[in-house]
Symmetry: C2
Amino acid sequence: MCQLLGMNCNVPTDIVFSFTGFQERGGRTDHHADGFGIGFFEDRACRLFVDTVSACESPVAQLVRTTPIRSRNVIAHIRKATRGRVALENTHPFVRELWGRHWLFAHNGTLEGDLPRARGRFRPVGDTDSEAAFCDLLNTLDVRFGDTEPPPANLEHAIDAWAATTAERGTFNFLLSNGARLYVRCATQLHHIVREAPFRRAHLADTDFEVDFAAVTTPADRVAVIATQPLTDNEAWTPMAAGEFAVFEDGRRVA
Amino acid sequence: MCQLLGMNCNVPTDIVFSFTGFQERGGRTDHHADGFGIGFFEDRACRLFVDTVSACESPVAQLVRTTPIRSRNVIAHIRKATRGRVALENTHPFVRELWGRHWLFAHNGTLEGDLPRARGRFRPVGDTDSEAAFCDLLNTLDVRFGDTEPPPANLEHAIDAWAATTAERGTFNFLLSNGARLYVRCATQLHHIVREAPFRRAHLADTDFEVDFAAVTTPADRVAVIATQPLTDNEAWTPMAAGEFAVFEDGRRVA
């Protein structure tokens, strides 16, 4: 199983604190050393950093940890290869363009059986179950809604329905974003937390590092963080239930 | 006008030497400080690094310059914004997936008039003439060839024909790759060089730096480099003619 990290905020926020703890799980505090990736949205466009070495050794991960990149929607993934060899094309998150905006997807778990590989305009570049599922989602949305991006409620319903069907094939925790919202589905393990005023100190669980969020935020800021396991050891994270589907916008859960 | 750099090789090769000189043009030896980007293919998948600050100041460019990433097809671009604001979604090169492989595109010049923005499955995320042209190319290939990737000769002919038509709208120097070949079109300024045994010493034109390629290659290696202006001052670069279209594969020109 892999490790997922997502962030959704009402103002562009850097993820250096959370990523510092998360990075430790890529080979140091956990055994997921088959690559990592992180995508940062700026409006409708996404910037992706990926590497096929472990997150705790990757110079790309080091850049991400030391360069504050501000974003309102971020998805990161640390890979333990189950289906698909260790290779660039098999490294999460995956990006595609639909309706003139980027979509970003990362998956934790394994889907069994035949994967819908070539139905529609989106085709996998690699050979993971995860990228095949992502392409199947985009093909499903493309067929269902055609050329016009639907209203958020319709989109949310379609993604939820697709996720429930796809989840019948295996273990399907995922994070998905189109730069406006962050969609989260839990199968086995995901936790979330919303940080807002009054902000407090937070201490990482994976390494001895602390930040006082009151010193680096304004009272209007709001940040939701989603992770496979809680990233801090002095805050109350909310565990998600099996089959739960959540949508985050502007740093809070909206559905 | 922007600066282009491309590399096509018969074995995975790092581009650190060429990029060291190229990076200087992003704000230091030339005035192109509106962002930079570089994409590296590994087989059919492409890894993209982009930034909206100048290449000579970007920590992302610094990572690229100090981390040898081996690739057989590379495209880099330094931007001077003409159409489209300075933003992530307007930063070259652009990536899309077609036929289960990534395509990478960068443009130097300006296309005038209305851009074909929403015809077909590929739509621009940003508002540059360049990304609109790239989407138009992929839509053209998609309509022409459907679900099946055509043989190289048919593909080359289609790209050449599309380029000639599109070039009627302005200045159209571009680099394009699908991970197998590097397609090059010259409108005003492009130069290329093929390095092969016996390898010699090369000295950068933009900064005082030299490498002895004989010490870092094997006799079977072959590397083609394409750039807006020659990157070295002690080698013979071949200037391309206005309207010339070239295809590189395995480090040599094949068409």
